[in-house]
């Protein structure tokens, strides 16, 4: 404790210089915590978005993810209701949503366009998608309605000049390779925030799509969990239960998430390295000047029996005091920024390829705060060690003669 008090007193010798190093450290810490918090918020948002879109665990036919079907549902799942019931009984499972992908032409009588659709169970699917699907007008399709109902993307609605209540025709290839058509009623117009998808999006009642494709199979079973953290365990359990089926997690299917994560890791990693260098240089400069100014004192302490390692320890403690205080201040700054953004409601502009922005928020992560603080303190200690170890080993007579 006494050594720590000496370290504090030495730090206070040149208040302005120590304060400058402390502020640089604080700003560096806050910048790393801020950017890290933003990256974490982005990752968490994308995780939630992806999991809501695909489900946490997706089960398909053994070749269901290959994408080389000759006809629709060639590698579909038969007897999906029994499988879904089995999976739904697993602990931690919130819901199981059967789905199928289909595509074809959509027409309003005057004009046709290509669509990429999903057959879903509306009462399960739209509840699970949550805020990821933004309804601009109308509501989800009704199950087993007299005339099949669909939700279409807002861009597709604009192309088809369709409104809620408009009648459109879906034309698709059946599982037998023939063409089939069904008249559908637009029950809702929605956006997923990606214009390219909104231009092709059709969501229809699963039963109606099965009727259109002349099949009772489904493409996949999406298993939604109560906790995302259980994904790996549930996926493993499902593989055990159904070794003949293909099982993927949301992470395996999240190409966009993986790409963003890789990009942000790279960007914020470089930013972190720059911040580390700045902190290291600031600390080295401050402590280096202190070492030079106190060379004679080092000689005195060495003469009266202080080991070089003990001299270095004293400077390392000083570095840790400055680094610790800077990290503490940086944490406060980052915390204040996190709170401010929580209430300020600042929006980020839409990312490339998207039509909607997203809130600028920072995640508060105690492990991140702890790790960054630890890194800053270790860096400060390393800087102190670097600049003091040579001076501590200088011959005593030379150090005492230092002017």
């Amino acid at each position: 404790m006494k050594w720590l008090i000496f370290a504090w007193k030495n730090v206070m010798r040149n208040r302005r210089r120590s304060l400058t190093a402390m502020l640089i450290t604080a700003l560096g810490t806050a910048a790393v915590l801020g950017s890290g918090g933003f990256a974490l918020f982005t990752y968490q948002s994308l995780e939630e978005m992806t999991a809501r879109d695909t489900g946490h665990v997706v089960v398909a036919h053994a070749r269901g993810f290959d994408g080389d079907e000759d006809v629709p549902l060639q590698h579909g799942l038969a007897d999906s209701a029994a499988l879904a019931a089995k999976f739904a009984a697993l602990p931690g499972v919130r819901a199981v949503a059967p789905r199928m992908q289909f595509s074809g032409l959509i027409s309003n009588g005057d004009k046709s366009a290509v669509f990429v659709g999903s057959g879903v169970v509306p009462e399960i699917d739209f509840r699970l998608r949550g805020p990821q699907m933004n309804f601009i007008a109308g509501q989800p399709p009704a199950t087993n309605a007299p005339q099949p109902e669909v939700v279409i993307g807002n861009e597709l609605a604009r192309l088809m000049k369709a409104k809620v209540g408009s009648s459109l025709t879906l034309l698709a290839t059946t599982t037998e390779g023939n063409l089939n058509a069904v008249d559908v009623l637009v029950s809702g117009i929605a956006s997923v925030g990606v214009p390219e998808i909104d231009r092709r999006l059709v969501l229809a009642d699963l039963a109606a799509v099965q009727k259109l494709l002349l099949s009772d199979k489904v493409g996949t079973l999406s298993i939604y969990l109560k906790e995302t953290a259980d994904t790996g365990a549930i996926a493993a359990r499902v593989r055990e239960m159904q070794p003949g089926l293909a099982v993927k997690t949301w992470r395996d299917l999240a190409v966009f998430y993986q790409a963003v994560r890789a990009l942000y890791n790279r960007i914020f990693g470089i930013l972190g390295v720059i911040m580390i260098c700045i902190v290291l240089f600031a600390m080295s400069n401050t402590l280096g000047m202190a070492v030079v100014e106190r060379t004679r004192e080092i000689g005195t302490l060495r003469a009266i029996g202080t080991l070089p390692a003990e001299i270095v320890r004293n400077f390392v403690l000083e570095g840790m005091v400055i680094g610790g205080a800077g990290a503490l201040l940086g944490m406060v700054l980052a915390g204040v920024a996190t709170l401010f953004l929580l209430f300020a409601g600042i929006e980020m502009p839409p990312p490339p390829g998207r039509s909607a922005g997203y809130p600028l928020l920072l995640s508060f992560s105690p492990p991140l705060y702890g790790a960054v603080t630890l890194v800053v303190i270790v860096l400060a200690a390393c800087a102190a060690w670097l600049v003091s170890s040579r001076a501590a080993r200088k011959p005593v007579t030379e150090a005492l003669a230092h002017v």
């Binding site: 006494k2 000496f6 005195t300 080991l307 003990e310 005492l400």
Partner: protein, 226 residues
């Protein structure tokens, strides 16, 4: 009081320095014994080798040739840790410029050698206050060195040197730049350190007031004892 007699024994010490291309021989085979309770003054003009001999006596420099022994321990061959350990335990230093740590209080400065020796806090406190009482500065324990006069600072430095009851005290011009009264106090303190505490005291000095009170006065000239 050091219970056991302890002698500093120097034999045939040689030391030279390089100054540019030239080599300057600062000590040319100096031999010297300083016994417990003895106060020895080293005098001589600037460049005579006083400081070099003092550094070798204080184990903060190494000779090119010759041997040293303190309390029967051969110094030659000791590594940095061994030398530091010996200084920590047995040698006290008093510098011309006082060399107190400015951010430490008087108490902390005097306490520092005891912290190095791992003395428990309660015992440290007692020993520090005793040392400060001895130099008449117990009332100044909480002050910083900057708040003291030159003479008071030198007394703090003496307290720092004597607090661990060293067997050897090295003093480099301890009365330089001090007025007569203060210089007299310092001389008395060092005298007491040698005679009452049975320590060997080696003082480098130009000051007649100091050398006249020493048991022996050794004059150095061109690296040799006269």
């Amino acid at each position: 009081m050091n219970p056991e007699p302890c002698t500093l024994r120097l034999a045939g010490l040689r030391k030279s320095y390089r100054v540019g291309e030239a080599s300057v021989e600062a000590l040319k085979g100096v031999s010297l014994d300083v016994s417990s309770g003895e106060m020895v003054a080293l005098t001589g003009p600037s460049g005579s080798g006083k400081s070099t001999l003092l550094n070798l006596c204080g184990l903060i420099d190494a000779p090119d040739a010759g041997s040293r022994e303190l309390c029967g321990t051969a110094i030659n061959g000791l590594d940095e840790i061994g030398l530091t350990g010996l200084r920590r335990e047995k040698v006290g230093f008093i510098f011309q410029g006082f060399n107190l740590v400015p951010v430490m209080t008087v108490f902390d400065n005097v306490e520092y050698p005891l912290m190095l020796l791992g003395v428990p806090p309660a015992a440290r406190r007692e020993q520090v206050m005793t040392a400060l009482q001895r130099v008449g500065l117990e009332a100044f324990a909480a002050r910083l060195p900057d708040a003291l006069s030159g003479g008071q600072r030198q007394r703090v430095a003496i307290a720092r040197a004597l607090v661990k009851s060293p067997v050897l005290v090295i003093a480099d011009e301890p009365t330089a730049n001090l007025d007569s009264t203060t210089a007299r106090q310092i001389v008395d303190l060092l005298h007491e350190l040698a005679h009452e505490r049975n320590a060997s005291v080696v003082v480098a000095t130009h000051d007649e007031r100091m050398s006249s009170h020493c048991d022996r006065v050794l004059h150095l000239m061109d690296g040799e004892l006269q």
